[in-house]
C-alpha cells in the first residue's frame, strides 16, 4: 500500500511537469493552430539558462526564477519573430515541419553551448522531504503540483474571460476573419509563444530541481505529447489533467510491470485513447465544411 501511494505521488509530481509542458503545447495550439514540436527543447534551454544563472550570478531562488522567466519570454519572442512569423499563412504541414527543424537545432545546440554531462540545479530548496504519515514527499514535488494547478486555473480563466484570450481563440479558429475584426494576429502569436515558453521554462526548472539537467531533457517534450493528446490539443485544462494521468500511468507501469514499460506506457495509452476518441478526452471535435 505504501509502495502504491509512493508511486502515485511521484507519478503526480512528474505528471505535473508533463502537464505544464502539455499546457505549453495547448496554449500555442489554441492561438495559432499548430503543434510546436520544439516545446521540449525550449523547456531544456530555459532550464540550462537557469542553471547558468545559478552558477554564475547568484544561487538565490528569486534571482534565478526572475532570470529564467525573462529569458523564457525573450526566447519565445525571438523564435516567433525570426522563425515562425515568416511562415504565417503557409500550410500547417510546412509550419509544423519548421518547428521540427527548430527542435533539432535547439537540441543539438545544447552540446555546443554547454556540455554533454548532467548537472544538478541546486537552489537550496525543493529537495527537503516532508513526512505525511509514513509517506515522504519532496517540497519540490509539492510545489510543482501546486504550480500546475494555479497556472491551469489562471490560463483557463484567461482564455475564458479576458478580451485578449478570446482574441487568441478567434485567431486560432480563423486568422483571416480575426484580422478583419481588427485583431493583430502577429501580436497574438507573439504573446502565445512567449507565454508557452514561460510555461515550458517553469516545467524545465522544476524538473531540474527535482531531478537533473542533461542534454536528454528534450525527451520531456516527447513524453508530454501523450498528455496533450489525451487531453485534446485545444484543451488547456485537459492537457494539465492529461499530464497528471500520464504521469501516474507511467509510474504505475514502471513500478509493477518493469522499466521498459515505463518508457512507453504513455504512448501505448494514447494509441488506445485515440482509437476511441480521436480528438482526445477533452478536445473539441472539428466540424468540417467542404
Amino acid at each position: 500500500m505504501q509502495y502504491l501511494i509512493q508511486l502515485l505521488i511521484s507519478g503526480l509530481a512528474i505528471g505535473a511537469i508533463y502537464g505544464l509542458i502539455a499546457m505549453g503545447f495547448a496554449v500555442i495550439y489554441k492561438s495559432t493552430g499548430l503543434v510546436n514540436f520544439a516545446q521540449g527543447e525550449m523547456t531544456m534551454i530555459v532550464a540550462y539558462i537557469a542553471w547558468t544563472i545559478s552558477t554564475t550570478v547568484s544561487g538565490n531562488v528569486f534571482v534565478v526564477a526572475v532570470g529564467a522567466i525573462l529569458t523564457a519570454i525573450v526566447l519565445g519572442l525571438v523564435i516567433e519573430r525570426v522563425v515562425m512569423r515568416p511562415m504565417l499563412g503557409e500550410p500547417v504541414f510546412a509550419t509544423v515541419m519548421v518547428t521540427i527543424g527548430l527542435a533539432v537545432i535547439l537540441r543539438s545546440s545544447i552540446n555546443f553551448i554547454w556540455d554533454a554531462y548532467p548537472h544538478g540545479l541546486d537552489l537550496g530548496v525543493g529537495r527537503d522531504i516532508v513526512r505525511i504519515g509514513d509517506i515522504g514527499v519532496r517540497t519540490g514535488q509539492m510545489a510543482v503540483i501546486a504550480t500546475l494547478l494555479l497556472l491551469l486555473a489562471a490560463v483557463w480563466a484567461f482564455f475564458r474571460y479576458s478580451k485578449f484570450g478570446i482574441a487568441m481563440r478567434a485567431v486560432a479558429a480563423d486568422d483571416r476573419t480575426a484580422l478583419l475584426m481588427g485583431i493583430s494576429a502577429t501580436r497574438v502569436h507573439a504573446i502565445a509563444w512567449a507565454a508557452s515558453s514561460v510555461i515550458a521554462g517553469i516545467a524545465g526548472v522544476f524538473f531540474a530541481i527535482s531531478y537533473d539537467l542533461s542534454p536528454a531533457m528534450f525527451q520531456l517534450g516527447l513524453k508530454s505529447f501523450p498528455a496533450t493528446i489525451l487531453g485534446g490539443l485545444d484543451a488547456v485544462l485537459g492537457s494539465g489533467v492529461g499530464g497528471l494521468l500520464i504521469g501516474i500511468t507511467e509510474n504505475l507501469a514502471g513500478g509493477y510491470l518493469g522499466s521498459g514499460m515505463k518508457e512507453v506506457a504513455g504512448f501505448a495509452m494514447i494509441i488506445v485513447v485515440l482509437m476511441i476518441r480521436p480528438f482526445g478526452i477533452f478536445g473539441e471535435r472539428d466540424i468540417e465544411r467542404v
Binding site: 510546412a94 543539438s108 552540446n111 467542404v290
Partner: protein, 348 residues
C-alpha cells in the same frame, strides 16, 4: 520546334515519360552507376551505397507523406522492424536472404496495419504523433523480446549470398542496392500513375472530396501505409546489412527527421524529388565539413567531436530554409531552371 505538350490519348497522359532522350539519359545514368563502383575508392563508394539505400527508404516515405499526405514521424520504426526481421530470419534461423528480404517487407507491413488502423480516424497532427508513439513502442518491444532479438545486444548480419551470387564485396553490394533502388523507383513511379496513385493524391489534396468521388478512404489509406512500410522495411534490411550489425541504437530517431528533411528538400510528392533530396541530404554533412576544414583545422576538430550534433543542426537548418525560400524543393527549382532554359529569352 516543340511548341507545347499536346496529349491525344489517355495512355499518353499517364505514360512515364513521352521523350526518348529521357529514357536514353536514364539508361546512361544506370550504366554509369553500374560501372562507377569499379572505379571509385571505398570512401566515396560508401556514400554511394548510403545514397542508394536512403533512396529506397525515402521513396517509401514518399508514398505515405508525399502522395497520400499522411505525415509520419515514426518511419524509423518501420526501418528498424525491417532490419530486425531480416536479421532474425537470416542470421538467427539461417534462412536464405531472399526470404529475409521478403520478411523485411512483410513484417513492417503487418506492423503498419496496427498503426494504420487508428489513422483512419485521426487527422494531420494527431496521426503524426501516433506514428511517433509507434516508433518508441517498437523500440521497447524489440528490447523486451530478448529471445527473438537478443535485446540490447543486437544481431550481427553477414552480407548476403543470393542464388549463388555473393554480395560480399563493396562493389557487389553496391550493385545489389542499385538494383533495389531502381526497382523501388519504378514501382513508385508506376504506383503514382495508376488508379491507386491518383486515389492517393486525391486523398492528399482533399480527403472529403476524394470520399465524395467514391474513393474508399479506409482501404486506400491502409494501402498507402502497407506499401510505404513494405518499402521502408526493405531499406531497413539493406541498411542493417550495410552496418553489418542490427541494434536499436543503429536506428536513432534522427532518421525519421532525416527522411522528412529529404522529402521537403527534394519536393513533396515527387519521386524525382525524393532522389534529389537524398543526394543532397546524404552529402550535406560531408560537404559542409569539407568547406569548413578549408578555413581552419579547429573547425575540422569540431566536426569530428560533435559530428552527430552538427548533422542534426544541418538537417534542421535545411528544413527551415527550404520551407521558407523554396517550398517546392529541389524538384521545383529544377522545373524552373528547365523552363527558363527552354523558353529563354521569353518568359513562357
Amino acid at each position: 520546334m516543340r511548341s507545347g505538350d499536346f496529349k491525344e490519348t489517355y495512355g499518353e497522359l499517364v505514360a512515364l515519360t513521352d521523350s526518348k532522350p529521357v529514357w536514353l539519359w536514364s539508361a546512361a545514368l544506370v550504366a554509369a552507376l553500374i560501372v562507377a563502383p569499379f572505379l571509385l575508392n571505398s570512401y566515396i563508394l560508401s556514400f554511394l551505397i548510403i545514397i542508394l539505400i536512403t533512396v529506397v527508404g525515402a521513396l517509401g516515405l514518399n508514398i505515405l507523406t508525399g502522395y497520400t499526405g499522411l505525415i509520419s514521424l515514426g518511419h524509423v520504426g518501420f526501418l528498424v522492424t525491417g532490419a530486425y526481421a531480416y536479421a532474425v530470419v537470416v542470421s538467427k534461423y539461417g534462412m536464405p536472404p531472399l526470404v529475409g528480404f521478403l520478411a523485411a517487407g512483410i513484417v513492417p507491413a503487418l506492423a503498419s496495419l496496427v498503426v494504420g488502423a487508428p489513422s483512419l480516424r485521426l487527422k494531420g497532427l494527431y496521426l503524426a504523433i501516433t506514428t511517433l508513439a509507434f516508433s518508441f513502442i517498437i523500440n521497447t518491444v524489440i528490447l523486451e523480446a530478448r529471445t527473438l532479438t537478443n535485446g540490447a545486444r543486437g544481431i550481427p548480419v553477414q552480407r548476403p549470398k543470393i542464388l549463388g551470387v555473393s554480395f560480399d564485396s563493396d562493389v557487389a553490394f553496391t550493385h545489389l542496392c542499385l538494383g533495389f533502388a531502381i526497382v523501388t523507383l519504378f514501382a513508385t513511379l508506376n504506383i503514382r500513375r495508376s488508379r491507386v496513385g491518383r486515389a492517393f493524391v486525391a486523398i492528399r489534396d482533399n480527403d472529403t472530396a476524394a470520399r465524395v468521388m467514391g474513393i474508399n478512404l479506409h482501404a486506400y489509406k491502409l494501402f498507402a501505409f502497407v506499401t510505404s512500410a513494405f518499402i521502408t522495411g526493405i531499406a531497413g534490411a539493406l541498411y542493417g546489412i550495410y552496418l553489418s550489425f542490427v541494434s536499436v541504437e543503429g536506428f536513432p530517431f534522427l532518421l525519421s527527421i532525416e527522411a522528412l528533411a529529404i522529402l521537403i528538400v527534394g519536393g513533396l510528392g515527387s519521386a524525382l524529388g525524393a532522389v534529389l533530396g537524398t543526394i543532397l541530404i546524404v552529402l550535406l554533412p560531408e560537404a559542409t565539413r569539407m568547406v569548413f576544414s578549408l578555413f581552419s583545422a579547429q573547425m575540422d576538430a569540431l566536426f569530428s567531436t560533435g559530428a552527430q550534433e552538427l548533422k542534426s543542426m544541418l538537417y534542421g537548418l535545411v528544413i527551415i530554409l527550404f520551407l521558407r525560400f523554396q517550398p517546392r524543393g529541389l524538384v521545383g527549382a529544377w522545373h524552373d531552371i528547365r523552363r527558363l532554359w527552354v523558353n529563354w529569352p521569353l518568359r513562357y
